[in-house]
Symmetry: C2
């Protein structure tokens, strides 16, 4: 998590090495050494030098064997290590000694296999770091550079990895990564797959960073089980965004099963899955929920980037399917295009009078008998300037007629740039399906999956247009080293710090006696709120420590008595500083909340949303990694489902949204400036009034980090 | 929509006829008459009499041809009509004259083809009704009785409809129905498919009713574009529920595109898609969102009914996939089982020490090399009494080893009853896939789709257990005949009607002068709310017609002046009855809303949910077809996302939920009793206090139907 490790490695000689050593090369059939060798010699088209290393052989398949890395006549760019875990450390030592740049460790038996493996892995890391050697793996299937036809992998599936393409794939797990690779069966082209296994050194983020710069990669898929270095990940996806390459991400392991219970109130609302999704959103990473959605979405980007014209067309020959597809388009928030007059004229002229020539088009079954009608009418739709994409749901496989439909789609697509997305809805996959796959359409397999991909594509286009010069400040996630404890500031201290940071607050002051309380209240003006002031009491209402709506000095004096009596009874040991006397918030307004927690991966994260009793019930909250700029603050406010409450819905006065945005940015600046010490903040409620009335935290909890040993 | 038509037809002689006439039989290759004949003679195993009718032939394929229905020597049970639309009316006349029971009209060119076709279809209906002939179609592909191997259809796909099974399929559209039939490719067995086309007479609901009683059908799939007769549909799905047969439904055409804008406030919140979903839920119909989900879900029911043991197991050999699947299980609200000690012991003994032996089980890649480990360990998991279903996501197609995994699953399934659901996640579909399909596993194609099906299966089990003796009163949806207009009652009239119906209300009375207002208020006690009383003013606040929190007679008198001045200025033509003087609701409590509209398909529908400013923003509403019993009212209240607000969340007092449920039932009874005249009701807000304080509408709008010509 150190800032230094966050720098991306230069991986060009790993992905396109000039020479390779295979440590553990073997000719024993089916062994990992033999399978890796076969992939290298038979299924790769590598033109550089390959050194085989096996101390017990002089020759394998007519090629010389060397006894060790140490004995090699030249230093390879990459050492691929397939020896058992017990021998791997020695190999890594030799690699480091010879200044080999990269070691790809395919062997397993490390941190995934218990404490001993964990120790071996840690030792391996030390050796490599000392020698300037970068490690890939261990416990991984290797690296497949499909575009260059180079497999540093033992996988018996590598011979099938034949479809070159503009997608880069970065995963940790080998199994789920391989699942994505098998989408090649649908015609999906994946140029490079890195599967980083235990990530002793190189991480998924390093490969995202590489792919962000690689000229043969246009779209990046990442499938993550955990993010080791949040700052490095953020830097990598920022790079991809800056270079105009969409990143499509699936994070697994989000469920409650197996996860420790969330510790603080705000964390229990957001949890790490929410933080992860928030960071994805912040950096324009397109999040999906299932593996097949990764390829459906990525392939659409590979075929075309989303245009400014967001509206879509539906062209179909089943009335039921066209209604189903229109439903899906509607519920995904997409827009059906209004066809131009020219398109409408072509449709009217060529389709039967009972066909639907609006959008969706329902040709009816005329397409089964009329062999030219599809190219004419689909051609008109696909050429319509009022739309950016055409969906062609294919309900059935009717053999020959469906194959003709497929060929028509192929022909129309060749004449224009607007992407046509055929959906193959049937479980029967005949000649029409094969034609579409062969021509690179990779048809999604259900209406829902297709529309989900299209919606994400359109959404990303919107994000790109809204963020033409995308930059997002990266977090400084590394917390200061050393043991620490935490302590909660008193409300009065917390509010003082916020006031110093330029946050607007209601007038408040600490009264140490009933007389002082009355004097302060008289000065502030009524109504007044009085709250117990004690560092030991966080939940003030629970101990009878709050009195609201006090109208005059007499009521303030009574409140002093009542609060002191109740609090002393409820919590006799608490050290009491007095009463915090505060002007009461004006009537009206909306209660919101702002929380800040320190996420172990991404550093400080802000949660913002509806406050009061609704916060837990409605969970209408949104979150962001800090720091936050004005644009991000504005987006957060508008993401709330309840935003219409602030926007003057139902005749309510419009709320002071600019003041609210300003508040969020100031809180972010405050936390960033004091990132070392602030562990957690809870401003609940935050009151926002009508335009001009401002936005103010009414209560404030700040929990700060204290070096171990310092007194609380 | 008449109540008479709601009676289900006896379809046994349509689905299993003793004799059939084919009107329009032909030997012209590819013609509809030839294709239908081929399906009947070549691809069916029908043992009854088949009469071929073609006036221009004496013989086709060596079989005698008759010139007409009139000329037949016997009356067939079913006439299949494939002649052009222009000749169909004559045929129908003959059928009616001969007292043929059923005519299956495959011809198109009727209501789907414009005004002339519409007229022909209406005429056909008249002829049939007069002659006691039931009509199926027109404009449909026909009827496929797969279990009896009888195809009354022109579809060239009928020869492929070979997988018999316990699923009944009832659709309107032919294309989308055929899509479901093509799921046979995955091993799904569908015993009967009715595709009712234009539904001039027989509707999808008639076939659901038939399937509910048919011994060879266990699970019913329905795919609807529109429901013609809501009462008939409700009766059919009620019958299925009573007979323990799950109905899985997909309603298409739910989108806003092409739908008329909703007319009244409540209707704009619910719309017909919501009403449809509400009715589905009310009758236990399992609603899905995409066509492939129909078969995934239905097939699970066909394999096994959901047991009381809801927890599931996950058995996998990829760590990433097992986390992905656990995520999906978690977000679907399913539970992962805790294995018994016996299961755990078997897993510990047989799997490597680094395998995950909790739930999910991650075997690791040991399954690639150890040929017996899967049967032993999966066998233990599948036999575990702590779970009701085992999910086996298969990440990859690795050829031979995956085929072995498939065979292991098949073997384990043969030894026990707990259903094992393999998920085929890869786009490569090799031998393992074919084995699973052949053995009837019909593997879902993604984790998400599989879990969605399982969640619906579990949910249905819960519903069945909660409704062991399911009965749901059917609505009387037929509105009284005749032209009508509507009028809005005054608040005072509306409240009087509610009070007469036993609904609790705050004290209120109409004051016709300022003096009377003060006297009424003095009698009720303060604080008081005063509202303008006029049948012409519905939105009272908008014209300054409401004053709240009046503390004494003086304020009431002032309120009279203020309201009268403001209202007269805003709406000088309104006829003013006076002021409605009402006791103000106590502090605290929650504001809800109850609305009633008349749905054209399902009759009166109640919408209930959060009221006040939140109603439109949060749309936390639920709805039900009326009448409503206590159980349904309780379910509605608990379906609100905001239910915790009523349940004493966050230290709030628990609300008077029994009073609220009682209110909903009384409103339902009131509307049902006055079903003829009530068009719409809007009770917003409905105030619910703490336990014992009751639940009361604070405002009430009733819009009633008035025969045209009656004075408003």
């Amino acid at each position: 998590m150190a800032t230094n490790a966050s720098k991306p490695a230069d991986l060009s000689r790993l992905i396109n090495p000039r020479s390779i050593a295979l440590v553990g090369a073997s000719d024993r059939d089916g062994s990992i050494g033999e399978r890796t060798l076969t992939n290298l010699l038979t299924h790769s088209t590598f033109e550089g030098e390959i050194f085989l290393i096996n101390p017990s052989k002089t020759e394998i398949r007519g090629r010389r064997c060397w006894p060790s890395i140490a004995s090699l006549p030249a230093v390879p760019d990459v050492a691929v290590v397939v020896v058992p875990a017990s021998n791997a450390l020695g190999v890594i030592e030799e690699c480091a000694a010879r200044r080999v740049r990269f070691a790809v460790i395919l062997s397993s038996g490390f941190s995934e296999a218990g404490a001993e493996g964990e120790r071996a892995q840690a030792r391996m890391k030390e050796i490599a770091e000392a020698g300037g050697l970068r490690l890939y793996g261990p416990n991984c299937p290797g690296l497949c550079n499909v575009n260059a036809r180079l497999g540093l992998t033992f996988s018996p599936s590598f011979p099938h990895d034949l479809i070159k393409g503009p997608i880069g794939l970065a995963t940790q797990g080998g199994g789920i990564g391989r699942n994505v690779m098998q989408a090649m069966e649908r015609g999906i082209g994946i140029g490079l797959w890195a599967s980083t296994g235990n990530e002793v050194d190189l991480q998924v983020a390093d490969f995202i960073h590489y792919m962000a710069d690689a000229p043969d990669i246009k779209v990046i898929i990442t499938l993550l089980e955990g993010i080791k270095d949040g700052a490095k990940f953020a830097a990598a996806v920022q790079r991809a965004a800056a270079n105009g390459k969409p990143v499509i991400g699936l994070k697994v392991g989000k469920s409650e099963y197996g996860r420790r219970a969330a510790q603080s109130h705000t964390a229990s609302l957001t949890g790490s899955a929410q933080v992860n999704s928030a960071v994805f959103k912040q950096f324009g990473v397109i999040e999906v929920n299932d593996i097949d959605e990764l390829v459906d979405t990525a392939w659409l980007f590979a075929r075309a980037m989303p245009p400014a014209q967001e509206a879509v067309g539906i062209y179909c020959s089943s009335g039921g399917t066209s209604a189903l597809t229109a439903d899906a388009v509607g519920s995904a928030g997409l827009t059906l295009a209004q066809f131009t007059e020219e398109t409408t004229a072509v449709l009217r002229k060529n389709l039967p009078h009972y066909a639907a020539i609006g959008n969706p088009v329902d040709t009816t079954t005329v397409v089964l008998s009329d062999k030219t009608v599809v190219e004419t009418t689909l051609g008109a739709v696909a050429g319509d300037a009022n739309l950016g994409l055409v969906i062609v749901p294919i309900t059935l496989d009717y053999g020959e007629t469906t194959a003709r439909m497929a060929q028509n789609i192929i022909n129309v697509q060749k004449r224009g740039k607007t992407p046509i997305v055929p959906i193959w809805m049937s479980d029967r996959q005949g000649e029409g399906y094969r034609l579409l796959v062969r021509e690179g359409f990779a048809p999604p397999r259900s209406v829902g999956k297709a529309i989900a991909a299209i919606a994400r594509w359109v959404e990303y286009g919107r994000w790109k247009r809204a963020n033409p010069a995308f930059t997002q400040a990266l977090p400084a996630v590394a917390p200061p080293p050393g043991e620490f404890t935490t302590r909660s500031l008193s409300e009065s201290q917390a509010k003082q710090q916020l006031r110093d940071a330029g946050v607007a607050l209601l007038p408040n002051a600490l009264a140490r006696s009933a007389e002082e309380a009355c004097a302060l209240a008289d000065r502030m003006g009524y109504p007044i709120v009085a709250k117990i002031a004690s560092q030991q009491i966080v939940h003030k209402s629970d101990v009878g420590g709050v009195q609201v709506n006090l109208q005059n000095a007499e009521q303030v004096a009574q409140a002093w008595q009542r609060i002191m009596t109740q609090v002393t009874r409820a919590q006799p040991d608490a050290k009491i500083d007095g009463l915090l006397i505060e002007k009461m918030a004006p009537g009206g307004g909306v209660e919101l909340m702002v929380g800040v927690t320190r996420d172990p991966t991404f550093g400080h994260v802000m949660t913002f949303g509806l406050g009061g009793i609704y916060v837990e019930i409605l969970r209408d909250v949104t979150c962001r990694m800090l720091p936050l700029d004005k644009t991000a603050a504005a987006a957060m406010v508008r993401e709330m489902r309840c935003f219409p409450l602030l926007d003057g819905a139902r005749g309510r006065p419009a709320a002071d949204v600019p003041a609210l945005e300003n508040l969020l940015v100031r809180i972010s600046d405050f936390v960033t400036r004091h990132a070392d010490r602030i562990e957690e903040m809870d401003l609940n409620p935050v009151w926002v009034g009508a335009v001009g009335e401002g936005a103010m935290p009414l209560d404030a909890v700040i929990i700060e980090r204290v070096p171990a040993g310092a007194s609380a």
